[in-house]
């Protein structure tokens, strides 16, 4: 890495912080730089305090930094909260209203400049111009991005924004400060993408055609992405009356033969747990996204957490098999969504994907090539003509691997009977004790196949005696922490879990034997730690836990790990 700088734009909700951030990120991307951006906001539409923070480097960066080089303060709270995050040479750019006289604080007269540009709504573009100038980006790149962003708004708006950009550049040129980042390595093999969009694309690349949901942060963004794509592709996004309806809608649609998805967050997932059981006993494939946020109950609706792992594994009454995955990046989100659809249909069990506000709303630079679209989708649906005798078809025929032929209703002569009561092979209610044993075992025997499908966790320096263990979205924060620790002379490894249930206990037992384990998790009780204890009998581990609604930063992991190792 030749450079690694971070820019934070802070202000009130409604001031357009996210727009500024998104445009900046796009420009850096088109300059050929790697970026990673996080999005921090309150549960309100106007006012309060929020920020957008971009990290930029010539090498991949995939976690936020705790140090800021440029802090743009659109409200006073930004200075108050974030001044301490500045690097030694870092500067603050701040709007007139709360300008204070310190060496590293630079006054930027946004209102004045935007008046000059002819429209006060251009003030965000001016802010962008200033930052880009200070980082050494050419104005041309900004103009390209503006064209893309504002073209729909008409020529007049576009012109004004061009002008605003230039005013910003001019204004900033009088500062001595300039980071002079390189701007000529554009590489069109990369794009910026957040977790939500990656999941949405993963669903499309799985031939998913139906989604039903009830709005809930931070889960709605997955559906928003699907909605946007649905203009080009035969895809229906249905807004249900509640989460109960949403999950049952997709069970109905999947039963009828269309791959289906829903997306919700904790409280909504609560309401889906009964439907989860229905999917399980009727053996109907469904994919459920649980985008985690801090709870209990409404908790912190727009913030992040990794605290639903045990819940999604153990929830709904009685025992039954399911898949649980937790991607650690947009790449993994895209791939795992496809895997979830494939496995859910293959085994006829529900699959749950745990994401969170951090992964869903953060932008990462990825290789476009990662988003490979498969040429074919393997379907496990049986057609009437493939049946020897459709009249004798039994939806729940007992088989060695627990998987029965799945025929669609009204697709031929076979009669398809499905019930949420315990049933016999033909799908009729049965209270018989022997039949019950057979059916429970039929469902459970699938676990033997399912566990074979689980990828073992990704490992880094796994030979070390000390291993950090994490899961899901914290992947790169922990990875970076482990790099820093190793560099500082501490021999440490890292195990990253994405495939969480059925728990690959054999592989894991081997990996962790006789190691010092440090669980790094976004929850209060170390839920993966407990799961590892439950599944492997491993007894002792240390923890680095964070549950204040904010994502992990590599340096704080380092600090805590060092404290543990002292």
């Amino acid at each position: 890495m030749t450079f690694d700088i971070s820019i934070k734009i802070g202000g009130e909700a409604g001031q357009g912080i996210q727009t500024v951030g998104n445009i900046l990120t796009s420009v850096f991307q088109s300059a050929g730089l790697y970026t990673m951006a996080i999005n921090d906001f309150e549960s309100r539409v106007r006012g309060g305090h929020s920020f957008f923070q971009i990290r930029i480097s010539d090498k991949p960066v995939n976690a936020p930094s705790h140090k800021i080089d440029i802090l743009m303060a659109l409200n006073q709270l930004t200075c108050k909260y974030h001044e301490k995050e500045l690097t030694k040479d870092g500067i603050i750019l701040s709007d007139a209203r709360f300008f204070s006289e310190k060496d590293n604080i630079h006054f930027i007269p946004l209102t004045e400049l935007s008046a000059k540009a002819g429209d006060k709504i251009t003030s965000n573009t001016i802010a962008v111009g200033i930052i880009l100038s200070l980082t050494g980006m050419p104005v041309r790149l900004l103009e390209d991005v503006l064209k893309f962003s504002f073209q729909k708004k008409g020529k007049d708006i576009l012109e004004k924004n061009f002008k605003a950009a230039e005013l910003g550049y001019d204004f900033a040129s009088k500062f001595k400060y300039n980071l002079n980042l390189p701007a000529d390595n554009f590489d069109n093999s990369r794009i910026n993408i957040n977790g939500s969009k990656a999941i949405a694309l993963g669903a499309l690349a799985s031939d998913c055609r139906f989604a039903s949901f009830y709005p809930m942060s931070p889960a709605t963004s997955v559906m928003k992405n699907l909605s946007a794509f649905s203009k080009d592709i035969p895809f229906i996004v249905e807004q249900a009356e509640d989460e109960i309806a949403a999950v049952n809608n997709i069970i109905g649609a999947s039963f009828a033969g269309v791959r289906s998805i829903t997306s919700t967050s904790g409280g909504g997932f609560c309401l889906m747990t009964e439907g989860l059981g229905l999917a399980a006993i009727t053996e109907t494939p469904v994919v459920i996204i649980n985008a985690q946020r801090p709870g209990p109950a409404t908790g912190l609706p727009t913030r992040t957490a990794q605290a639903d792992l045990q819940f999604v594994i153990k929830s709904s009454q009685d025992d039954f098999p399911r898949f649980v995955f937790a991607p650690g990046s947009p790449e993994e989100a895209f791939k795992i969504t496809q895997k979830a659809f494939y496995l859910s249909e293959k085994y006829q069990v529900p699959a749950i994907i745990l994401t969170d506000q951090y992964l869903n709303d953060s932008l990462f630079t990825i290789e476009k090539g990662v988003l490979t679209i498969p040429e074919n989708i393997k379907s496990f649906i049986i057609e009437d003509k493939e049946l020897e005798n459709p009249e004798l078809y039994k939806r729940y025929k007992l088989t060695k691997n627990g998987i029965s032929q799945r025929v669609l209703p009204c697709s031929g002569k076979a009669i398809v009977r499905v019930t949420g009561n315990e049933h016999d092979e033909s799908g009729h209610i049965s209270e018989d004790a022997e039949n019950r044993n057979k059916m429970v075992n039929k469902r459970f025997v699938k676990m033997e196949g399912m566990i074979q499908e689980m990828s073992s966790p990704e490992t880094f320096n796994k030979e070390s005696d000390i291993l950090m263990i994490g899961w899901g979205s914290s992947k790169y924060a922990i990875k970076e922490a482990s790099d820093i620790l190793i560099e500082s002379g501490i021999d440490i490894g890292y195990i990253h879990f994405t495939d969480l249930w059925p728990f690959p206990f054999d592989m894991v037992t081997d990996l962790i034997k006789n190691k010092k384990l440090i669980m790094v998790e976004g929850n209060r009780s170390s839920q993966l730690g407990l799961l590892i204890m439950e599944q492997t009998g491993e007894r002792f581990f240390e923890t680095v836990l964070k549950y204040n609604g904010r994502p992990f930063y590599p340096n704080e992991i380092c600090k805590q790990v060092k404290k543990i190792l002292e």
């Binding site: 592709i233 009356e241 049952n248 009204c410 949420g420």
Partner: protein, 285 residues
């Protein structure tokens, strides 16, 4: 030719003898046979309760789902494949109690599904608690001092929600019921028949003869079901005389007809299109 016999099924019927559900079951079979819909072309969706068991007692594709959730399953299935003929069998507790919110929204969507509510004014399968339609004063083990809530009026409510096909049937009049079911199935949009169905085991108030003494057929009065205001007025009748027949009917576009992507094909009929997807991915760059 489809006959009632095609709908016979060997699975043991588990209702009490004398139960009003039998009338509904046979009216349903007869209607479907007369409509020339064969068992492999019909999907019955139901919730949990005595009414919810209905699909087990005839030969057909079925999804016997959760208490209260039949309409949500039917909605999903219909959106995935709007060529399906879907009838929902639900109970008064199932549909108006646990499933109240889905009832509201199925009506608002106007999804092309027929809803038959086996309304016995009681929770049958769970052995006799008050249901949303139980009359005030009814005493049960759990309502020791009698029901004190206003009974849910499904007909008035469906009208208020904008339902385009609202009817009331009586399981004791299968001739009329058969006619109503046929009209409801043929209606393009969400159609409701609230069916008065005596529960001989638990409802000792709204018995067969209680209903019998009150019901009358709107057709006999030359009632015309095209005025919402008239329909609302009629919907308030209960204690003296209970109107049956089609109470309100209005043609309008059904939900799936209003969804553009479904104009040409049902969702399930599309093919996976990797080329299109590659384009989408190019566009987001």
């Amino acid at each position: 030719m489809v006959t009632v016999k095609d709908y016979e099924c060997s699975f043991e019927n588990k209702w009490c003898s004398g139960c009003g559900n039998f009338g509904i079951l046979s009216a349903m079979k007869e209607s479907l046979a007369e409509l020339e819909i064969s068992p492999d072309n019909i999907l019955l969706v139901s919730g949990i309760g005595q009414a919810g068991k209905t699909p087990h007692f005839m030969k057909c594709n079925m999804f016997h789902s959760l208490h209260g959730r039949a309409l949500t399953i039917a909605t999903g299935a219909k959106l995935a494949n709007h060529n399906l003929n879907i009838i929902v069998n639900s109970g008064d507790g199932d549909c108006y109690g646990e499933g109240g919110n889905h009832f509201i929204n199925a009506v608002r969507r106007n999804i092309d599904v027929t809803l038959l509510v086996h309304n016995n004014q009681i929770y049958g399968l769970t052995k006799g608690q008050a249901s949303p339609t139980s009359d005030q004063g009814m005493k049960t083990n759990l309502q020791q001092n009698g029901v004190i809530s206003e009974p849910f009026n499904p007909v008035s409510t469906a009208l208020a929600l904008g339902c385009g096909f609202v009817a009331r049937g009586f399981s004791g009049n299968t001739t009329q019921l058969k006619k109503l079911i046929k009209e409801a199935v043929n209606y393009r949009g969400f159609s409701i028949i609230d069916i008065l169905q005596p529960c001989v085991s638990f409802n000792k108030i709204n018995t067969y003869s209680w209903y019998k003494s009150k019901v009358y057929d709107l057709e006999d009065e030359n009632y015309s079901p095209d005025s919402l205001e008239n329909a609302f007025k009629i919907s308030r009748l209960w204690n003296e005389k209970i109107p049956t027949g089609i109470i309100y009917k209005e043609e309008k576009l059904s939900y799936t007809e209003k969804i553009k992507v479904l104009n040409r094909h049902a969702l399930i009929e599309n093919n996976y299109n990797p080329e299109k997807l590659k384009e989408v991915i190019l566009n987001i760059a």
